[in-house]
Symmetry: C2
Subunit: 332 residues, 2 copies
């Protein structure tokens, strides 16, 4: 049905309705972005470009954590806090992984039940694209559309399984990591490096008998984070505990993010980081498209495969193999 | 002088002398690898390919730490321990950064004074190449030559300033991070993520009044590392203290590395990791060469620059800019 609509609405109509904050059309536009039909792609590109000047005014927040950490519950409470202040919030659920984990983000019909009914909130999965790069592009474009539609806070939600975080880190201003207390960190499956990307860590489910464990975890992580060199922003990540059911730590999280934003704006990192992210977007896409060109040649693709085998057998020098691929491709 | 020799020696002579462990010729061959003269590059490529089957039998150890941490002193003590066991050890100093930091690795004439005179030791800077990728390639090839020359332990030394570690990480079996106690970790300039790459951490200069601070640091880092998910190898990084002047912790470091090697060999990660590293070498070089092709076109280069400016001004969609570059380059 979206397809039909996307074909019925003109570029100008799409643009006008989105700028008017029409979330039905916004949803259709995001579907258009995700479409793989050549004619859709053309319109989608033009639409995103047309709305680009109206984008950039939101706070982009990445939220990650392994399944079971309570992401949905946290985001629901967090979102309600913001909509109660008449702030427009969009939640884009990114999931580049298999339909299996996709279920963990999108399957549960009851997730963010209240928020999804909130007129100030817009919730949308954007888990498309076969490659992380593809997912990132779609999400970047969805962010632009949401910002053009007047959303002031955009949450990019992803499952903390180690593959999508680095991608999401490059899409957002503030990266929030949700962790469980106690369980033993290995069990949480937080991959190395992810904690170091965090601007803030929230220990969830800090209620009932969990409170003491949560406080211990807070101390542990704060200490661990303290051991690392400060990030490029100069910001020192903070750890707080939260209980969504007791609605505790939610306001503190928002305060932490506001503190970060004013900090990063005052030292001009906020702007610099966004510029850097756009340059990364540009160069990543360049690499991606170059690589696609290679793979479009069936011969080259086969040759790469056979070289990979030879390389594993230590039968050919990897750099030499690469040179031969390039020479064959460019007919040198 | 090396050039002349490299022109005088035939490929067969180079190969035979290196296989005979002739370190003079080995040094000349590494110079040949680093040469930018087209005819040298051809011979160098053939030589490395010829010796490839004779490579791979060493333990490759990456050692990093900020200037002042005592790398040279540590490596000298560590190297002497190994040569005393009649083990042949090669030290390749990687420094992709400016001549300024290069000085910190290569300038000091007195560094590794004893080791450099040791018949079982071979010390060689390989800091060439304008790009990290270039440096990595030269180093990978130098490793192959050293292994063909019969060196059993190869140390890749780099300055812990955050740029070269990730590259070196992909060249070695075991990554050792040297840190100073006390000073305050921020002051050590250890970039985020580097500690998480380490298979082992050595707190240096643990002597005199530093001992208690060193022990405290050891406890702190061991605890911090414990918070992270185990690495792909399944190995849990260990932290030890060391005093090169009191020759303490040197033997323990070697034991730690031997423990790692038998651990990684028993679960087959050692082999898998090397295969993975060669595939990364292959694909990195592919990307690198593809990108070179782009930059060889003056028009494309200028267009990329102007797009970068427009992107920073939020005047063009990064993905669209990339598409235009590709279309122009391939004349689509």
């Amino acid at each position: 049905m979206n397809k039909t609509v996307s074909n019925r609405l003109s570029l100008a109509q799409f643009s006008r309705e989105i700028l008017n904050g029409n979330t039905v059309v916004l949803a259709q536009a995001i579907t258009l972005i995700e479409s793989t039909r050549p004619d859709d792609i053309v319109v989608a590109n033009e639409l995103v470009e047309k709305l680009l000047p109206h984008s950039g005014k939101s706070i982009r927040i990445g939220i990650t954590g392994v399944p079971g950490v309570g992401k949905s519950t946290f985001i629901e409470s967090f979102g309600k806090l913001l909509t109660a202040q008449s702030k427009k919030i969009a939640v884009l659920a990114v999931d580049p992984s298999s339909s299996k984990t996709k279920g963990s983000i999108l399957g549960d019909k009851t997730r963010m039940d209240e928020l999804s009914k909130d007129p100030y909130a817009f919730i949308r999965p954007t888990s498309t694209g076969t490659t992380l790069g593809g997912v990132a592009d779609r999400t970047r474009e969805a962010i632009i559309l949401c910002e053009a539609a007047g959303f002031e806070i955009i949450i990019i939600e992803t499952v903390g399984v180690g593959q999508s975080e680095t991608v999401v880190r490059n899409l957002v201003d503030f990266f929030l990591l949700l962790m469980l207390a106690g369980a033993g960190d290995e069990l949480q499956g937080i991959k190395k490096g992810i904690m170091e990307m965090a601007d803030g860590v929230v220990i969830t489910k800090a209620d009932g008998e969990n409170v003491s464990k949560a406080n211990q975890a807070m101390a542990d992580y704060q200490h661990a984070l303290h051991l690392f060199l400060e990030s490029d922003s100069g910001w020192k990540p903070k750890v707080i505990t939260s209980s969504a059911v007791e609605n505790q730590g939610i306001h503190e999280t928002w305060q932490l993010i506001k503190d970060y934003v004013s900090f990063a704006q005052s030292n001009n990192y906020f702007k610099k980081n966004r510029e850097q992210q756009n340059l990364i977007w540009f160069h990543d896409t360049l690499q991606h498209l170059l690589r696609n060109k290679l793979n479009q040649s069936k011969e080259i693709k086969l040759k790469i495969k056979s070289f990979e085998k030879a390389i594993i057998d230590n039968a050919v020098l990897p750099s030499r193999a690469a040179q031969e691929i390039i020479q064959e491709f460019f007919g040198a």
